[in-house]
Symmetry: C2
Subunit: 433 residues, 2 copies
């Protein structure tokens, strides 16, 4: 009986797995060198946990189920609630700042689209317990550090940065009530995705004054926080938010990534939970979804029953990233799915035991080794050795029968030399993986 | 609102993640040096896929759900069906032998017990397309190669090896009908877990002759395949199965793992799908569940709509393994959750920019670096550096103000030396990750 894979999921054949590992290893290396520690959580949690942060409308977007104990569970669509739960569980034992990363497998019950699958991986980094904007700078720098190391220059990607605090201060200075902001944010977040007409239309459903709508549109196009002074009177609160953004840009400059960073008031992030700096990284052409997004959340831990501790973080999915890296030629076409130190070949079936022994000794010494399970001709075994990306091939043949010698062939240069089998095998005892 | 984790799942805090990574890295390194390529599949598949191999009774043991398209899906309890599906999908394109490994996250809706959780990781290795018993030897060797490299000697663990082919030949020679074997195997598999009395009782429900029951019990205690000649006439089929087992032991001897391997007819493996060599690895004390188990399956691909191709493989879960490694003192008590090349400290708040710049330069050069987000006293920063396992600490202080020099402290030896900041930063340009 033939069964198909479920649509929106991926099979990782060895050549796909090589790409997948390349991406996840990059995330990990960048996290570690930026001082983050790795954590992970369960693939499913109580369904309720996702309703806390995202409301009931999230339920339809989750793969949820009931277990035999009648618990309502869901496969995780994000790891942030798990992070909040884990941090809260040990809030007094964990030394601060908490600087954690993870690359979880996540699932969303959505219609699959380009760069958006029903199952994906997402790099998450978070810093918890640091109020200063230096933590936001660290998060943005770490995301850029990875992307830069993957080969994406400041001509290829841009970090668009804004501040919810600043946005709120400006919007309220326009006379918009604070209570309306949570409804307004998801609309403002759509600006870059729809026409100005459609955007005005959507705004007018929330705001009746066309003058204010005009101000909003102008404000969202300013190129630097200074220019906001042209629209609004900079009261203490607004000035504080401006100063914070300026300090963030100063830090990013000191970190050497100024050329990647732009101020962009149209970056809002849909979710209600952001409270400070918000950012997205986009490809410069702007034809793909955001590569990553994040920002500061002051109330998240509290929402999950914890104390009032601030945090800032970001998430980067693997799907859009892989498309971008591929388009830019930054994924090697033929990443090796395996690399062997040695392939062990033989010219005579009677030597099969020697092949088995030698291969096992190489492996026991921590070296990668393989051999042919069939007594093929030598040429075919050498072809197999090449296909398996072996650096060297040991040929056990007539020289072994006559003088107990192995022929060792360098698969790059083609050079071949004879060595005493005993000496070679003895030399392996000194190798440590 | 406080939410708990779901019972039978695990949170991996950084110190748990270090252990988890230690185990999964070990699996990966051993797979690679033994010539296996990595693959992965989706976390959920069509529910039906698991019913093919394991029947309808499996449904209760799965976390299953229905998606919005009314598809019946399940979180994978094992990856073998996915492997069969993936291999079948590309059966003509894949070069043989297929020698693949994976370390999937799996879930089973069971009651959590010691060494058995509802969510776990399982190392899987499989060789598809090789009839010869050399492939079974490769699978057993690879499992032992990992366990040996983890520090488990032949005094600590034993690979118990048998053959379904041999068992079937012997049982039919006792006069048991072939049709009864599939019902008999799960009972025989229980022998080591229950008393002899209970075992006899269970056998008598299937077999009426007490003479045959006596023969079965005696047969299951033989110490080598030769001794089977005392019970049964070795017809061609039985002799062929004996020869195969003997060749397997000869190969394992050549591979240097003879002292780990014992012949044990009581190893049956409950599942119906095994057709040849079967094995389990147990701790020598025998107080834990099997560390791993596997064997040869000739019909699996065919059951999933593919051609008639043989395969052999094994699975090793992380839960029992971790308990054993911990009991044996083979897990370092304090595995580092991070290791930094440099911690960058400062003695004066006015030098904060230099700290940020220097840290970013180190990271950009591929080195691990961190700094304090608070302007703490130097002693406190050095304590942080130690806690974060930094090899060296760069101290930016009065020497920097006076002579543009960094003090670099070796955190192991405590030695401290002064270097020109410019020279040091320039030297980073030559470092590649």
């Amino acid at each position: 009986m033939e069964i198909k894979p479920v649509k929106g999921t991926r099979d990782f054949y060895p050549e796909d797995m090589a790409v997948h590992n390349f991406i996840l290893d990059g995330w990990k290396q960048s996290s570690l060198r930026n001082g983050f520690e790795e954590y992970e959580g369960p693939i499913f949690e109580y369904l309720q946990m996702y309703q806390i942060k995202s409301g009931d409308e999230i339920v339809d977007q989750l793969f949820n189920f009931t277990d035999r104990g009648d618990r309502k569970l869901a496969i995780r669509p994000e790891i942030t609630p798990t992070l909040a739960r884990m941090v809260n569980q040990r809030i007094n034992a964990l030394s601060r700042p908490i600087k954690w990363f993870s690359s979880p497998r996540l699932c969303r019950a959505e219609r699959p689209q380009k760069g958006r699958l029903r199952e994906f991986f997402q790099w998450n980094i978070d810093i918890i317990g640091v109020e200063d904007v230096v933590a936001d700078a660290e998060v943005i720098f770490t995301a850029l550090d990875y992307l830069r190391s993957a080969g994406l220059g400041s001509d290829a990607i841009k970090a668009k940065i804004s501040s919810r605090k600043l946005l709120a201060a400006v919007l309220t200075s326009f006379g918009i009530e604070k209570e309306k902001l949570d409804v307004l944010y998801p609309v403002l977040d759509k600006k870059s995705k729809i026409s100005e007409e459609a955007f005005r239309e959507m705004l007018s459903e929330i705001i009746s004054s066309t003058e204010i709508i005009g101000k909003i549109i102008k404000m969202m196009n300013v190129g630097s926080p200074d220019q906001l002074g042209d629209f609004v009177e900079l009261d203490a609160e607004t000035q504080g938010a401006v100063d914070e953004v300026q300090r963030l840009f100063k830090l990013l400059g000191e970190m050497g990534v100024a050329d990647y960073c732009v101020f962009d008031m149209s970056i809002v992030r849909g979710l209600a939970y952001y409270t400070g700096i918000v950012f997205e990284i986009h490809d410069a052409v702007g034809e793909l979804r955001a590569i990553c997004g994040g920002g500061r959340y002051d109330n998240l831990l509290q929402q999950f029953g914890g104390p009032e501790i601030t945090g800032t973080g970001m998430g980067m999915g693997d799907c859009v990233l892989e498309i971008l890296l591929r388009e830019r030629g930054l994924l090697k076409d033929n990443m090796p799915t395996r690399q062997l130190d040695y392939f062990v070949a033989y010219t005579d079936e009677n030597l099969a035991s020697e092949v088995v022994k030698t291969t096992a000794k190489l492996r026991t010494a921590g070296l990668g080794a393989n051999f042919s399970y069939k007594s093929n001709k030598l040429a075919k075994q050498l072809k197999q050795a090449s296909e398996q990306n072996a650096k060297k091939t040991i040929i056990i043949g007539s020289e072994f029968i006559e003088n107990c010698e192995f022929a060792i062939k360098d698969m790059q240069t083609g050079e071949q030399k004879l060595v005493k089998a005993d000496d070679f095998l003895k030399s392996l005892d000194n190798i440590k993986e």
